[in-house]
Symmetry: C2
Subunit: 439 residues, 2 copies
Amino acid sequence: MILRSKPQGSAPAACSAELIAVGSELVLGYVAERNCAFLARELTRLGIAVRFTTTVGDDEQTLAETLERAIARSAIVITTGGLGATEDDLTKKVLAKVTRRRLILHDELRSRTRARYRQRGAAVPAAVDRQALVLSRANLIENALGTAPGIQLSGPHYWLAALPGVPHEMEAMFHAVVSGLLQARFGLRPSSRLRILHCGGVTEAVVNERLRPLFADWPGCLGVVARPAGVDVWLLAALSAVSPSLRRRAAAWPSGRDALLELEREARLRLGEAVFGADDETLEQVVGRLLRERTLTLAVAESCTGGLVSHLLTNVPGSSAYVDRSVICYSNRSKSDLAGVVPQLIEEYGAVSAQVAWAMADGARRTSGCSLGLALTGIAGPKGGSDDKPVGLVHLAVSDSEAVTTTYRHFHGDRTALKQCFANAALDLLRRHLLKISI
Amino acid sequence: MILRSKPQGSAPAACSAELIAVGSELVLGYVAERNCAFLARELTRLGIAVRFTTTVGDDEQTLAETLERAIARSAIVITTGGLGATEDDLTKKVLAKVTRRRLILHDELRSRTRARYRQRGAAVPAAVDRQALVLSRANLIENALGTAPGIQLSGPHYWLAALPGVPHEMEAMFHAVVSGLLQARFGLRPSSRLRILHCGGVTEAVVNERLRPLFADWPGCLGVVARPAGVDVWLLAALSAVSPSLRRRAAAWPSGRDALLELEREARLRLGEAVFGADDETLEQVVGRLLRERTLTLAVAESCTGGLVSHLLTNVPGSSAYVDRSVICYSNRSKSDLAGVVPQLIEEYGAVSAQVAWAMADGARRTSGCSLGLALTGIAGPKGGSDDKPVGLVHLAVSDSEAVTTTYRHFHGDRTALKQCFANAALDLLRRHLLKISI
């Protein structure tokens, strides 16, 4: 899917990583594993290539087999899960066996752990002291958000960190401690090897076409991925390579931060206004920032998306500063009642039409007294489509005191995917409209 | 987290499975791997225990190493990904090498694949013929939704299926073909070994407390998992065991469908109305069915959830039959404008209060002419909380022509999690209200 890089002046080629997620709930399909994707992306940022991720159940023998293989073949091993206080939490016990260390009761940690359970008003588990067992010759990684600390230990050919499985605890510990330890140990610079640009209002094919000249000039450094929220462009520099065959292909590999900045400049030049943000930014955050900077308020009138546009907008903390209200007009009468759409308009042009989108956006703005109105009406399916107006068609409109702009799009997918596409198209229309308004 | 079962009269203990997801986009953290959770759950349903899932990049050496180990140690191996038409798609090539088979050009498949690309109006990729290569002594698994067929092959000690990585193609192929092949080969009965009960309006602790007597009587057969949409109870029977140590713990293991039905009856007896559905049913589907059966219509007034309740309700195809409209009142004035809340009520009791929830639900119903009004107002944070009204507090109300019912809940979590909890609490309040109305 994407070419990986030639290692050059950064992490050594030997510095490849392996991730292990522990938990029977994962191998049973109870809970979808999601820590590995986070860790893989963060390691990629640091220039470390993940070769394997393995998920295993809470089973001593399987876990031991997996850990033994990992420390034998990978320079960096990170495990998640199995550090809790119950009998099923085996990571420390198995790690001690595999790395030939002793388990020691850590008195201070024991008092701290007990105190933390009490402080939270939670019952102290019978086996609480298991959490105060530490491995000899290992470092503790503090867990500011939970009771199970992490462990870091090193052997002759491996560097290993064991983190808890609760995603927000694990993520906080990675950012606060693990990332720094890895940078120090392997001489890496943070955030200089990966940049993700997010594009809106364009298809994957258009992005590929615009970036075509760069693929040849920067072999192995770009990847394009279609996502529900738009199209992502991955810009990579100086990853330690995964395979010798791919390494050979990446001839002109940029080796540092400057090369990545140059590549980003080139990509942005070709993509223009389509780029709405980078890395962890979301479209709704960007739209929120643009509204806030211009001290504008917004009223939304949704039909086919059933509230998704408003849900996304209000996921952003502080969004009440600019989101005033929304109306979800699922019936024809509600379009008249809530957004002031003249019934004749619906009769003449149909509920899914540019005219009705126009009237909904303008009505939402006027009846609310907000600066802007945003509206959409479409067909999310699976039924309700016709030759003229197929499933996947959506009409969009944005209204301000001077004019109403309408447009339409046609997407493919199931009902859930279409709702996502429609909502993102509406937010992107609003974003492009806001860019034209000066601060 | 959950005890696994003793194998008894069902899948042989040797019948353990291993899943392999192939794709550099996965190990780079580009895309979160999600096929393995689906396959793990479906295999658990069939009584097959998954021991390992591994994710590897599009790299020949790594993939070969992983496949060799898998067919040596696991009776069932299922791979996803790497079957496409590009150079990076290596699964077939590596499988041929590892299982010592030849790759043969399949003429009919070649014509079919080319035709399919043309039929979709898609450009025929230069390397299209790679997709028409098949392994000697292997069965093809038809892909009704895409261009890459799957492959099934067997060796002396393994049974292997290679499926494409596109989730909806893979899932359809599993249900249409793979599940049946596994049942036939290993003498399994479908859907008799796992039942998931979904509970609403109760905490994990309450569910655990009510089921406590069953944990002793049915060791290793129950699991309780807190989910954003409520609490799930997993009932398991006759899984082939993963570990000998766990197998010993599960003494009184039920061996078949009757035992599972009996266990479900016992669990439902103790959980009562809290159980809203089973297996793939969602809360919004259940609410939709109850509304439809009673030919009732609904108007929603949301504040803190910003549209999420309506978004969930309208994810269900055909929901326009009962969802008439929603108003998202993010400002105080919009609560008066859209839901007819008297401003003095907000002044006196505050926007987050039982009184305002009451007025919003009743106003939404009256102004819309719908049979029912559902409303919620709360504090999703991270700011806006106080000692009296902390972040996580939500007031809920449901209104019909006879009365308004209000209640409140207090949840913990970040903004996104709280919106989810609030929305599910509202849907569950509506569900319990509908259960009291006869059809």
